[in-house]
């Protein structure tokens, strides 16, 4: 009953005119970020954090979350019209969405992705509403050892599941954790790795690191593509922006299944929207009576993945809000934003700031309706963004990043750091080193170290505290499994291949 009251109060927060405005701004910017190349939701959110300092935390978080799920809507537009995912999780939409556009059905592809995103997004928020409180109540008993093992599991899962190589994922994770150790140690007040630079004493700002790694690095990559002459061509929207009865019949099942798959995958750390959309695509292809149509413009291949990558955002907010645990880059940046506003996500969040958390969750119901409107009748407006010359867009992104970063501390050192991390991100991209574990390590590093030291203080230095309860033992087991998962999955694939070859013989 108390929870129901909080949910209803959340709607009074979300429906305040000022918060409706911020929801609209967030959704609009999210769609823009999703459509534009060179700037993803992580960089978009990180850039806006300094501008939101003076705002009430609920309004600021409502707007930042709007960018997160709004970007998923926008990401599909570029997948369909230029065969380039505006947002990584829209990668599967490129296959059949682009094929539909080539056949003159771009309007139907855009419509099904918007409708699918709306239905699945609402399924996801409903799941978040139902599961958040029970999980938060379970987590209220967590001590430092439980938190340490939980964060360790999340980071190992992200390191082993993102990218193509486990050692490179681990390298990225360790780099993030090492960057988190820069600054004054909270317990001994000793300055670590500051190299005498005054600005480093408070630690490295995650905003600077995130914008450098995501926006500036992407700009450098984009400029390289520009001189290589690999910029894609835009297909004009053709056909009605709606579905025929037959297309609707074929889409509804994939949308529901995609919505559920996306939410479940979103809750798991490391998996994320890309895996959710791949899983949805393979599920639909497996269930289809005409799997040969996939890749040739099957509407199910757009409806399922688009639904999955949207409900994934609500799923990813479950561990973030209830445990304070981000499972990917965007939620890591959102966690950083929460901390900057003086709010620590976790089980206490629902007791201490019910207005903020329920206002945020309830705003997502409203935001999904706004996004449906923005992405159907107004889609033509966003498509025009694709015609902005990239040679103009990329330098502008650097200039916008400079404003965002300089406004944090008014320091040029932050701008040099921005460039440094931009170069680092570009090089990581060249070396196939994933960025997400680094950002996660940077955001969680402090909490991980503090919980590690508190645990060992409680146990008089005995490591046995990390296997002393059922929860810690389960989490340590999950950590070990996720660590060896790439090895296990490649063995399973090899065995399957062997069996298939044998049965073929």
């Amino acid at each position: 009953m108390e929870t129901l009251n909080h949910i209803l109060n959340g709607f009074t927060v979300a429906l305040q005119p000022i918060n409706l405005w911020y929801t609209l701004v967030g959704c609009f910017l999210g769609t823009v970020v999703g459509v534009l190349p060179g700037i993803g939701p992580a960089a978009g959110i990180a850039l806006l954090v300094p501008i939101t300092y003076g705002m009430p935390p609920a309004s600021a978080l409502i707007m930042l979350a709007g960018i997160y799920y709004g970007a998923k809507y926008g990401g599909s537009t570029t997948s369909i019209l230029i065969r380039t995912p505006g947002e990584t999780s829209s990668v599967m939409t490129c296959i059949d969405g682009y094929a539909m556009a080539l056949k003159g059905r771009a309007g139907a592809a855009l419509a099904v992705s918007a409708i699918g995103s709306f239905i699945a997004g609402t399924i996801g928020v409903l799941g978040l509403t139902l599961f958040a409180v029970p999980l938060a109540e379970m987590a209220i008993e967590f001590g430092p050892a439980e938190y340490f093992t939980l964060m360790l599991f999340a980071m190992t899962a992200v390191a082993s599941l993102t990218g193509k190589s486990l050692p490179k994922g681990l390298l990225s994770m360790f780099l993030g954790l090492m960057l988190a150790t820069v600054g004054i140690d909270l317990q001994s007040a000793y300055p670590r790795y500051t190299m005498g630079v005054l600005e480093f004493q408070e630690g490295l700002s995650f905003v600077v690191v995130a914008v450098g790694l995501f926006a500036v690095a992407e700009v450098l990559q984009g400029l390289e593509m520009l001189v290589r002459g690999t910029a894609p061509e835009v297909i004009r929207i053709s056909g009605r922006l709606w579905l025929t009865r037959e297309e609707w019949r074929r889409s509804i099942g994939p949308i529901w299944r995609g919505g559920i798959i996306g939410f479940v995958i979103g809750v798991l750390p490391g998996a994320g929207g890309t895996i959710a959309s791949i899983l949805s695509y393979t599920t639909e292809k497996g269930l289809s009576k005409h799997p040969e149509q996939f890749g040739e413009g099957a509407i199910e291949g757009v409806a399922g993945p688009e639904a999955a990558n949207n409900s994934d955002t609500a799923g990813a907010l479950v561990p973030l809000l209830t445990l304070g645990l981000p499972g990917g880059a965007v939620t890591a940046v959102l966690l950083g934003a929460f901390i900057l506003y003086g709010i620590q996500p976790g089980p206490q969040l629902f007791k201490e700031h019910p207005d903020v958390v329920w206002g945020l969750i309830d705003s997502m119901y409203v935001g999904n309706i706004m996004l449906l409107i923005l992405n159907l009748p107004l889609i033509g407006l966003f498509v025009r963004l694709l015609y902005i010359p990239r040679a103009m867009l990329y330098p502008l992104i650097v200039a916008i990043s400079a404003i965002g970063i300089y406004s944090v501390n008014g320091s040029v050192v932050d701008l040099y750091l921005l460039l440094f991390f931009g170069i680092a991100g570009y090089l990581c991209n060249k070396a196939d080193i994933p960025i997400t574990p680094l950002v996660l390590g940077l955001v969680l590093g402090d909490l991980l170290e503090q919980s590690f030291r508190q645990s060992l203080t409680l146990s008089d230095g005995s490591l046995s505290i990390f296997v002393s309860s059922r929860i810690t033992m389960t989490l340590v087991t999950l950590t070990v499994i996720s660590f060896f998962w790439p090895l296990i999955s490649s063995r399973i694939k090899a065995l399957r291949g062997l069996r298939a070859a044998e049965s073929g013989d």
Binding site: Y193, A391, V398, A402, E449
Partner: protein, 155 residues
């Protein structure tokens, strides 16, 4: 293949520097038994183990990576030179950010990059860089009250 070798060398050097810097911390055990160097020491060891894993992976993939990559690399220098040039130009932009001020430094930065990557379109390049730089300066400093350096201009 070359990228893997560089990644391995970078990891080894970084681990060595990080562990050396960690060992320079004084042993402070005031409020907790571990002190400020315990956790970083674990990270350093983790990085050394990661370097070993990278080496194993590099050796494993050496056979499969063929000579094709070597051939492909020879024509790439021009593209990378342009990226290096754009990076240096961005560094100069940031260096002049406070001295010239946001509006002037940004308009010069944008104009030069657009002139290189969008050749011949002087009017739209010039208009975009000027309107964006001075427009965003006014919006951010006067409307959003974000502090940006005025520099040489008496704004």
């Amino acid at each position: 293949m070359m990228a893997n070798r560089i990644t391995f060398c970078f990891t080894v050097v970084l681990a060595a520097i990080y562990l050396y810097a960690t060992e320079q911390f004084p042993a402070l055990h005031l409020s907790d038994p571990l002190g400020p160097q315990a956790f970083p020491r674990l990270l350093g060891i983790g990085l050394v183990l990661t370097a070993i894993a990278l080496l194993i992976e590099t050796l494993r993939t050496r056979k499969s990576a063929g000579a094709a990559e070597e051939g492909r690399a020879s024509g790439e220098a021009r593209y990378y030179a342009i990226v290096v040039g754009a990076t240096i130009w961005t560094g100069l932009y940031f260096a002049a950010f406070e001295w010239l001020g946001y509006a002037i430094s940004t308009s010069i930065y944008l104009l030069a990059l657009m002139a290189y990557f969008r050749r011949g379109k002087w009017i739209s390049n010039g208009l975009t860089s000027m309107v964006y730089s001075f427009g965003s300066y006014v919006i951010f400093t006067k409307l959003l009250l974000v502090s940006l350096p005025a520099g040489l201009l008496p704004l």
